[in-house]
Amino acid sequence: MKKIIGSLGVLVLVIVVAIGTLTTHNVSENTLDKLREKYPEKHIPSVDHSKFPQLQKKFSSPREVTAECIACHNKSAEQVMHSNHWNWEREEYIEGRGIVSIGKKNAMNNFCIGTQGNEKSCAKCHIGYGMDEKGLSFTDANNIDCLVCHDNTETYAKASNQGGAPVMTLDFNKIAENVGPPKRTNCGVCHFFGGGGDNVKHGDLSSLMFYPTNEIDVHMDADGVDLQCVDCHTTEQHTIAGKMYSLSSMNHNRAFCEDCHTSTPHSKEILNEHTLKVACQTCHIPIYAKEKSTKMFWDWSKAGKLKNGEPYSEEDSLGNHTYLSIKGSFVWERDIKPEYQWFNGTASHYLEGDIISDTTKPLVMNQLNGSYSDSESKIIPVKVHRAIQPYDPINKILIQPKLYSDNKGEGAFWVDFDWETASTEGMKDAGLPFSGKVDFIETEMNWPINHQVSTSKSSVQCAECHTRENSRLAQLNDFYMPGRDYSKVIDLIGIWNIILALFGILIHGTFRFIAAKKLKNGVNE
C-alpha cells in the first residue's frame, strides 16, 4: 500500500515536471505571423498623379507646386499647419510648470544649442519655405513644403541656408507627378542628419537606416519586412504618432512596440513578466549607433581656435570630426551599449531663460521622469549626450549664441569667432538678458533609443543585467534586482554561520576521534 502511494507520488511529480517544462504559450508565433502577412502587402495608390494636367505645367518655384497640391487636397494645408512639424512648438503640460508652449522655437539642446537667430540655416529641415530670422513662414499655406515628405523619386533636396527652399535645379514636374506616402528616404533626409551630420543626434538613426540590413534593424530590413517609418509612426490628419523627448514633454500620441506585438509577446512567461517594468527596447536594442558613429560629447569651450586666422577641422580615422573651429571638439562612438533610465512618458525641459539652480553639477536639458516606485515607469535605453556649452554666470542662464550669418561683422560665431558678440547678438534675438560674461557649463541631454532593433538572438541576455559585476542596470539602484543585489551584512553573517558550523564539526569530530582512540587503547591495555 505504502509503496503504491510512494510510486504515485513519483508519477505525479514526473507529470508536473513535464507540464512545467513543456508548456509554453504560443501567442508570439501567431502575432508575428500575422504581422509578417500584413506588412509586405503592396500599397496600391488611389490616384496616379502623373495623369493630372495641373502637375504637368511649368513650375518656376516650389510654392507653385504647393498651390496645386492644396488646390485638390484642400484640407491638408490646415492639417499640416496644426502639426509639430510645421509649428516647431506645441502646447504641453509640464509637471511643476503648467501649460507651456514648447518646441524647437524655445527649447535648447546641447548640440547647436537652439534655433533662435539661426532660422535660415535651421530651416533646411523645416517642412516649409521662406523661413527668415523672425520665423515668418509660419502663416502662409503656400510655404508648406509638401514634396520633402511626399516625393517618391528620391531626388528632392533642400538647399543649405536658404530658409527651407529646395535646390532650384530639380525637376519639379517629375517630382510632383510621383508623390506618395513618405518613405524612409523622405523622413531620413532630415531625421538621420539631425545636429548637422549623419547620426549626430539620435544615435539610432543613421544613414544606414535608409536601406538597413537585418542586423542593423529587423523591422526596416530592406530585404526583409522593409517597414517604412510611417508604418509605426502612424499618421492621422498629418499628426504623426511617436515623438522624441528632446522636445516633447507629455505622455500622449506615442508609438509603442506593443501596438503591434502586444505586451506579452514572448513564449517564455518569465520574459512576459518583465514587460511591466522593462520597455521592449531595453532588451531588444543591445547596442545602438551600429556601424555609424554618433556624437557622445561636444565641448563648445574649445571652439574658436584658428590656424593662420582661418578656421580648421580635424578628423579621426573613421572620418568623424574631432575638432571644428566653429563648433569645438567632439567625442564619437559607435556600437554603444545604452545607458538606462526609468521613464513614465513625461519629461521636463530646460527652456530659454530658465535659471540654473545648481551650476556645480551637470545641467540636464531634458529630464526624463520616472522611478521604480512609479507604476507608469519602465526602464528604457537612453543615449546621453554630454556637452560643455556657454552660459551666463551672472544671470545663471544658458546662452543662445548667434551662430549663423551670411556676412562677417554681424556677430555670428561661425563667422566672427567671438563668444561675447555672438552671445550679445543671440540673446538679443532671443529676447533674453545677457550680462556680458561668458562661462561654460556641463550639460546632459537624454535621447531615448527606439530604433535599430536587433534580432531576437542578439537581444540582451538575462545575466547582462542580473549580475553583480558590470550589470547593464548598475546605474538604476532604486530597487532590488535578483542576481545583482544582496545584503552585505546578511551574506557575511550567513557565510560565517556556515564556516562556524564546519569549524564546530571539526572540533567536535577531533574530540570524538581522540576519545575513540583513548577508549581503544584502554580496552587494549
Binding site: H466, Y480, S487, A501, L519
Partner: protein, 215 residues
Amino acid sequence: MTKKVYVYRSFERFWHWLQAILIIFLAFSGFEIHGLYKFFGFEEAVLYHNIAAYLFIILIVFAIFWHFTTGEWRQYIPTYKNLSKQMQYYLWGMFKNEPHPTKKTVLRKLNPMQKLTYFGLKVLVIPVMVTSGLLYMLFRYPQGNEIQYLNIASLEIIALVHTIAAFFLISFVIVHLYLITTGETLTSNLKAMLTGYEELEDDDESETKKLEENK
C-alpha cells in the same frame, strides 16, 4: 539485547531523500541566482530553481498529509525533558563513551534536540522559505499592479528573508550530515534511513507488537 526494527517507512524515506535532493538542488541553483557563482547560467538557474520549488511544495503537501494520517506528527512535539541531558551528551558524554540518554524507539524516533530542531524547521524555516519563495516567484506579476491591496512595493524584503532562511537551511544540512554519524556506529543512522531498518534495544514488547501491526 538488540533487535532489527522497521523504523522508517517507505514514504517517510522517499520523502526524506527527495526533500534532501531538492533542498541541495534549490540551494545550489538559488545561490547562483544570488550571484555567488556561475554554473547553469542565470536564466536556467531561475527556471530550474522554480521547477524544483514547485516540486518541493508538492512534496510538502504529501508529507503533511502523511504526517497527519499516520499520526507521525506527534514525533515532533518539542519537549524540555531530557533536553539538557541530550546537550550534555553531545558536549562531553559522547567522548566518555556514555550511552545515548534518549532511547530510540519506533514511537520515539527523535531525541529532544532533534525534536526541537525539526519542529523549528517545520513550523518556522520551511514555511518562511516557502512563503517568501512563492512571493518571490509571484511578485507583482499575477495582478500587474492592478490591485492595490495585493501590490508589493519592493522585492527587497522578500529576497532578503529568503536569503536568510537559505543560509539557515544550509547550516542545518551541514550540521545534520555530521550528526547522523553519531549513532551506534558511524553509518547506522544512514543505513536506517536508506533501508528503514535499524538495530534498536529491544526492551519494549508492546512497541514491537505495534510495529508488526503497522507492517
